[in-house]
Symmetry: C2
Subunit: 340 residues, 2 copies
């Protein structure tokens, strides 16, 4: 196994056997709308409250990913999952009925990267034949958790991002299969990075240094640069975070202008959908990976990508106590199944 | 590698090279008081607020565990850590300065079991030479997060437990060393278990079914029973949860009356310290393991224990929305270094 300071290349890369994306109505009206497995027209998903709705997103994404891989829940050994809510309630209540051993994760909006990393590591080590990695967010639960009551109708800063409603799930397994979407060949695990930014309505700027650090570390660890990748895909930096990331990398001699993609920029049409700097939330990168990126890898259009979801590590308590908003980003290397 | 439905026995068990326990004043006045590495007399730890104090607990526990193993932060490849607060702010802000790749975990009060499991799995698989597993809780941050403002001085139910102030950390490494405390030989990963209990002031009862399930599953997976263990150690069931756990296991033919120990019952003298059903919080099982259990294993007084921290998966939001309090419990098998 090849290792760098914060990175691993797996000797026996596991496969993504299937992926499922469940999106909200607004996400369904965006540029990727036709690619999602399911677009929920009702933000409540028939439930009594938003949190229960987000739990439904998780449940549906997990069940659909399992079904698409032609499996049953008992075929999955471990769940690696998380969401943005205090004490991960969307995850705990959403995945309960599956009765699968659960590792609850919190990496803010980087959670899907953390989940895929650990899911792939456990499968590659032989601890599990199959794991399921999953993450969700919901616009209304996130606004309630982090910002203002929706009924208050506050104005949003232009630097703010729109928390995506959606859940993405991938089945990770040791063996390839006819429908396999990609291989997970490595990972670079992020550390907490804090540039001291305190504006929680500008999370792209808060997270860009973490994305920078993980991508830079990845390049150092394997003596690679941007040319090794068809795309380097961050989670939810949005337009402001993207500018900062590209600037920071340029100063280190890396030009990602042609290869960088941000799920938050892809998910919405910022002009017609009034989403300002872009999309965000664990669900943003999760549904973009599952609906858009992985199919492109299956088709062979992209041979190798670095997927780097980015998280802003703050809570209303830390914010109100005057703390900064540190970031974290977890990188995962995905390669076409056909790659040697 | 021997595997059961939810369990693994590791082929190359990693070692706990060192352990650190930082406790609060009240914990220091309890039965285990003389065993802790450090007893903080000031609940604020010199910080401006309780959350920053809890971050200090994490930082001090991590640094002390690293120092006791005669290492430097850069010798640790991964941190596996969590706390009880929304968005894990104690962890994110507490461990930032270490600059070590971080997997943020949330398993409520079971987090130390989750962290040791994943820390040991990554080391045993060769992904890391050394990981650090860590968990914390703080009475005041938990009361503020989950219950009432401290100044309100509400009465506490007799079924309630007292959230421990403390942080515990262990350095897990692939090679043994002169001071090694124990080997981590296996783990049984818990699923979410919900018996429908809705009383968040009786978390012992809410978590007992999860503890039962993990212990029962562990016995099934390896065809073992309580006789295989010197102690089976739950995290924070307290006196009420203990009664329920022993009852549930007795119905399945297992008698743990002689071998069960609960960290929440050990940590405080319930009569003189007015802690009602016992101690709780991630820190409760973490500091009890690090200060009391691991030294007993090093001395050879206990050869093999099953450590099963238990978590109650709820938030004030889920509680206020009328949801139940499901539980989860993650089991870890610890054996004396001298065991074959």
């Amino acid at each position: 196994m090849q290792k760098g300071k914060a990175s691993i290349l797996l000797e026996h890369p596991p496969y993504i056997a299937s992926a499922a994306s469940i999106a909200g109505k607004k996400e369904g009206e965006g540029p990727l709308g036709s690619l999602f497995d399911l677009v929920e027209q009702d933000g409540m998903l028939g439930e009594k409250n938003w949190e229960a709705a987000e739990s439904q997103l998780q449940k549906k994404a997990a069940e659909l990913a399992i079904q698409k891989a032609d499996l049953k829940p008992q075929d999955i050994r471990y769940l690696f999952a998380g969401d943005l809510l205090g004490q991960l309630i969307a995850t705990s209540f959403g995945l309960m009925e599956l009765e699968i051993p659960l590792f609850g994760l919190y990496g803010a909006c980087s959670t899907f990267g953390e989940a895929i990393s650990l899911g792939a590591m456990t499968v590659a080590a032989g601890y599990a034949d199959r794991s399921l990695a999953l993450a969700s967010s919901h616009f209304a639960t996130a606004e309630k958790q982090f910002r203002f009551p929706l009924g208050y109708g506050n104005q949003r800063a232009y630097s703010a991002t729109w928390t995506a409603t959606g859940a993405g799930a991938v089945v990770i397994q040791s063996q390839s299969c006819p429908g396999a979407l990609a291989k997970i060949t490595g990972m670079t695990t992020g550390k907490v990075v804090d540039f001291g930014l305190k504006d929680s309505t500008n999370m792209g700027a808060a997270m860009a240094p973490a994305a920078f650090h993980t991508i830079w570390q990845h390049f150092q660890d394997f003596d690679r640069d941007e040319k090794a990748y068809d795309r380097i895909i961050t989670g939810d930096l949005g337009t402001i975070g993207q500018t900062i990331l590209l600037d920071l990398l340029r100063k280190e001699g890396y030009d990602l202008a042609g290869s960088h993609m941000d799920c938050g920029i892809e998910l919405f049409d910022s002009e017609s959908q009034d989403t300002h700097a872009g999309g965000s939330g664990c669900g943003c990168s999760a549904i973009t990976l599952c609906s858009y990126v992985l199919p492109k890898m299956k088709d062979g259009a992209w041979k190798r990508v670095l997927f780097v979801p980015t998280g802003a590590l703050h809570s209303t308590v830390s914010y109100n106590e005057g703390q900064s908003v540190p970031g974290i980003a977890h990188g995962v290397v995905l390669e076409s199944v056909g790659m040697p």
